[in-house]
């Protein structure tokens, strides 16, 4: 498959056609990804074909098949959970923390050593721009392993009692928007606290997780400590229902999260959920406007808006609405959409046909509701799944595009007049994952932050992630925290 001439999406094009300073294509080589014709699941320390379907994973930027993946079935889930149980009881849960830390440090270093390969592979499989996979996803994944490696021998000092105990076998299901990074968020704290893991990556983006399995194998982790199963919803369901699983951790949509919580009810399984969001990015008239505009762009167009904490609702004070919108439109005209492997690409491909259909549907709803749709002049490649950066002006709190998570590069612009109105409107959503505040007034930041019902509140920045900082939701955005000292609690007995 790798020797096929790769289909190349048209090079990243600045939205204006007659450009004086025309950036020549600067593509990262796809050979760096060391793409294999087929990928296997990783169970009990060995790679093998899953007994489910063999599925082709595609490049969403071209619709070209990348590799065949032998997906798991329910029997593979049973095997993986049994292997994880044996590893848990065999040695892992009683291994001194300093010894577990050595493995985690080793994984972190190995991710760094293979950073370019993982970045290119991630961009091929997911469609995200190489500058993001290179500068955010992969380094942050390594940082997560480094961070939790540091906790492994200090758990007695983390504030959970002198001898906190692991829970057991963790079943973890992760989404397609940050495939490697979400795997790191899930695996690192689980291992640091002495749990073993069965992880299922999303069906459209299994390649970096299966490459992480290679790294884990090369780091000589004892068999069964980490098992990685490719597969679709049925594999996820089997993992949720597996009797040997003690803890479930899920990141994904609120609808699936609710089903999962029903399935897990009264099963004795511990549960943490990181679900959807409809975050408000609140811009006051005394904000540093240029930086606020950057924050709005970063908030909603980072990763094509495929971010659960995306700042998808812009709440801008009425007195600066026109100024902010004009500046935002000017800024959007400079965004470069195209080949995810081009180092100058700002907006990559939508991950799947299904997601593109969802984004299109809600954008059409926005228009039907009477909001004004605006995108910069922008040529979309002929093949692959693409959606232009889009904003809706004149939307209302009652609009569906102001209430429902679109999970795409679509910004809904709303206004407010007073700080209290901003808080009321920001909180007026079933979600509560994140929020952003833009003002030069420090006291207002604190006043707002105390009233916003959101797990993460960013002030004068947005979409900043650090392993030391806990992340998680309120309300229908889920419960449990990942990252930081708080992230340990999700994997310790008697906590959360």
């Amino acid at each position: 498959m790798t020797d096929q001439p790769p289909a190349t999406p048209s090079a990243a094009a600045a939205p204006t056609d007659s450009s004086l300073f025309d950036y020549a294509p600067a593509p990262e080589s796809r050979a760096i990804a060391r793409l294999k014709p087929s990928y296997q699941i990783y169970v009990d320390g060995a790679f093998r074909d899953g007994r489910g379907e063999a599925v082709k994973t595609i490049n969403p930027a071209t619709e070209e098949p990348l590799a065949e993946v032998a997906e798991a079935n329910a029997a593979d889930v049973t095997d993986a959970v049994a292997a994880a149980r044996r590893a848990y009881q065999g040695s892992w849960s009683t291994l001194p923390g300093a010894e577990r830390a050595k493995y985690l440090f080793r994984i972190a270093r190995a991710i760094q050593e293979r950073a370019r390969e993982l970045a290119v592979l991630e961009s091929l499989d997911n469609g995200k721009p190489i500058k993001e996979s290179r500068d955010v996803d992969v380094p942050t994944a390594a940082a997560h392993f480094f961070y939790y490696a540091g906790w492994a021998d200090k758990l007695g000092y983390a504030g959970f009692g002198p001898n906190p105990r692991p829970i057991g076998v963790a079943g973890q299901i992760i989404p397609w928007n940050f495939p490697l990074l979400m795997a790191a968020w899930k695996i690192a704290p689980a291992l640091a606290t002495g749990n073993t893991v069965v992880l299922k990556p999303a069906e459209t983006t299994p390649l970096t997780a299966l490459t992480l399995a290679e790294i884990i194998a090369e780091c000589d982790l004892p068999p069964g400590v980490v098992n990685i199963l490719a597969g679709g919803p049925s594999v996820g369901q089997a993992l949720v229902e597996a009797p040997g699983v003690d803890k479930l951790a899920f990141t994904g949509s609120t609808a699936v999260g609710k089903d999962l919580q029903r399935s897990a009810a009264a099963s004795g399984k511990r549960l943490s959920l990181e679900l959807g969001g409809k975050a408000a990015n609140i811009v006051f008239d005394d904000a540093a406007i240029d930086q606020a505009v950057e924050g709005i762009v970063n908030g909603i167009f980072f990763n094509q808006g495929h971010v659960c904490c995306a700042g998808s609702r812009l709440l801008v004070q009425e007195s600066v609405h026109d100024e902010v919108v004009a500046a935002l439109q000017d800024r959007l005209r400079t965004l470069r959409l195209g080949d995810p492997l081009d180092k100058n690409t700002d907006i990559g491909a939508i991950n799947s046909a299904a997601q593109l259909a969802r984004v299109r549907e809600l954008a059409d709803v926005g228009e039907a509701e009477g909001a004004t749709r605006w995108s910069p002049a922008c040529t979309l490649p002929d093949r692959g799944f693409w959606f232009p950066p889009t904003m809706f002006l004149g939307a209302h709190q009652a609009s569906r595009i102001a209430q429902e998570e679109i999970f795409g590069p679509v910004l809904t612009v709303l206004t407010f007049r007073t700080p209290q109105e901003a808080v009321d409107k920001a909180n007026n959503t079933p979600y509560g994952l994140s929020a952003g505040i833009w003002t030069e007034k420090g006291s207002r930041i604190l006043w707002m932050a105390n009233r916003l019902r959101a797990g993460v509140v960013w002030a004068n920045t947005f979409n900043r992630f650090d392993p030391a900082s806990p992340f998680g939701g309120y309300k229908e955005s889920g419960f449990g925290r990942e990252g930081g000292r708080h992230g340990l609690a999700a994997y310790l007995e008697g906590e959360l």
């Binding site: 300073f21 950036y23 020549a24 540093a288 240029d290 930086q291 950057e294 180092k343 920045t461």
Partner: protein, 320 residues
């Protein structure tokens, strides 16, 4: 002469320079600059990858934007003539290399430079107004300017009174610029903010607007005598200022970055910033300049490398 008359160019902002209170109200009413955010934006722009044809275009454009500069106590007519020869034909072996925009010298050497570049299209710029400190009486500064202009300088690089600016005497700074602009006659005025002494980006934004309101044709970062000189976040804020000024007045003013820019890589990153922050209409020597001395040789070496695939080494470009 009435110094408080605002320039016709700034219609709509006419009241800003009426008196100290109006000027202060206007400058302090500008949106703040978040240092962290500005640095992040500048760093993100620096990750653009400019290759092949784009790089070739950028190198030639950067050469055309250089104000080739010598500002030393030891400058002599011989040194200035040597610099002028380089400015007119940066690479004698390759007539395809464009001339630079201007040479920049002290006022007493303007005559030598004018003679050396006559008929070539290369402009002669002169620093004036008690460069680099600006610590002299206004009358002295105006004589300095008048002499440079009389000797044939077509561009004047003045320094603002940073002491007055930092102590909040904005009108004094404004009035000096207005007076110098008047003394310039038809010569273009570049106003040096000396951002390394202003320190904060809020101050850079206010000084930029103050200089534009007072009639500066260009705003310029630095004298080159103070460190730090031109930095990416400072350039970002100044480019935003000319962009916003043009949006409000319809007048396109220029930005000159000076001091510490030595490599083609840095120059190309700044061109990316000009392109994406101010807009491509600023990608012209009439509206963007690099004040530099050693940058030109690096641009020539990179140009040669791009054309031939090999570096020819520092002995193949002239040391002037």
């Amino acid at each position: 002469m009435s110094l408080t008359l605002s320039q016709p160019a700034t219609a709509g902002l006419a009241d800003a320079g009426r008196d100290d209170a109006s000027l202060r109200r206007f400058l302090h009413g500008l949106p703040g600059v978040d240092q962290v955010g500005a640095e992040a934006r500048a760093a993100a722009l620096a990750t653009r990858s400019i290759k092949t044809t784009a790089k070739a275009w950028a190198i030639d454009t950067a050469i055309r934007m250089v104000d080739l500069t010598t500002l030393e106590g030891s400058d002599s007519p011989g040194k200035v003539r040597s610099l002028c020869a380089k400015a007119v034909r940066p690479d004698p072996s390759d007539p395809g290399v464009p001339a630079v925009a201007a040479v920049c010298v002290y006022p007493d050497l303007v005559g030598v430079a004018v003679e050396a570049v006559r008929g070539t299209g290369v402009q002669v710029a002169s620093v004036a107004t008690a460069f680099p400190s600006g610590r002299a009486a206004l009358a002295t500064k105006l004589v300095d300017v008048a002499e440079a202009v009389a000797a044939g300088a077509t561009e004047i690089d003045m320094v603002i009174d940073r002491g007055a600016f930092l102590s909040g005497r904005y009108l004094k700074v404004y009035e000096e610029i207005v007076a110098v602009k008047q003394a310039c006659g038809s010569a273009h005025l570049k106003v040096i903010l000396e951002t390394g002494e202003l320190v904060t980006l809020d101050a850079v934004r206010r000084a930029s607007w103050l200089s534009l309101l007072a009639g500066g044709d260009f705003i310029k970062t630095s004298t080159g005598k103070i460190s730090p000189a031109a930095t990416p976040p400072v350039a970002l804020v100044m480019l935003q200022a000319v962009r916003d000024f043009a949006a409000r007045t319809g007048e396109v003013r220029g930005v000159k970055l000076a001091g510490g820019i030595r490599t083609s890589k840095e120059a190309i990153r700044y061109l990316v910033m000009v392109n994406e922050v101010a807009g491509e209409r600023w990608l012209d020597p009439a509206t963007f300049r690099f004040g530099a001395s050693s940058l030109l040789n690096d641009l020539l070496q990179q140009r040669h490398k791009l054309a031939t695939g090999a570096y020819d080494g520092p002995d193949y470009v002239s040391i002037d």
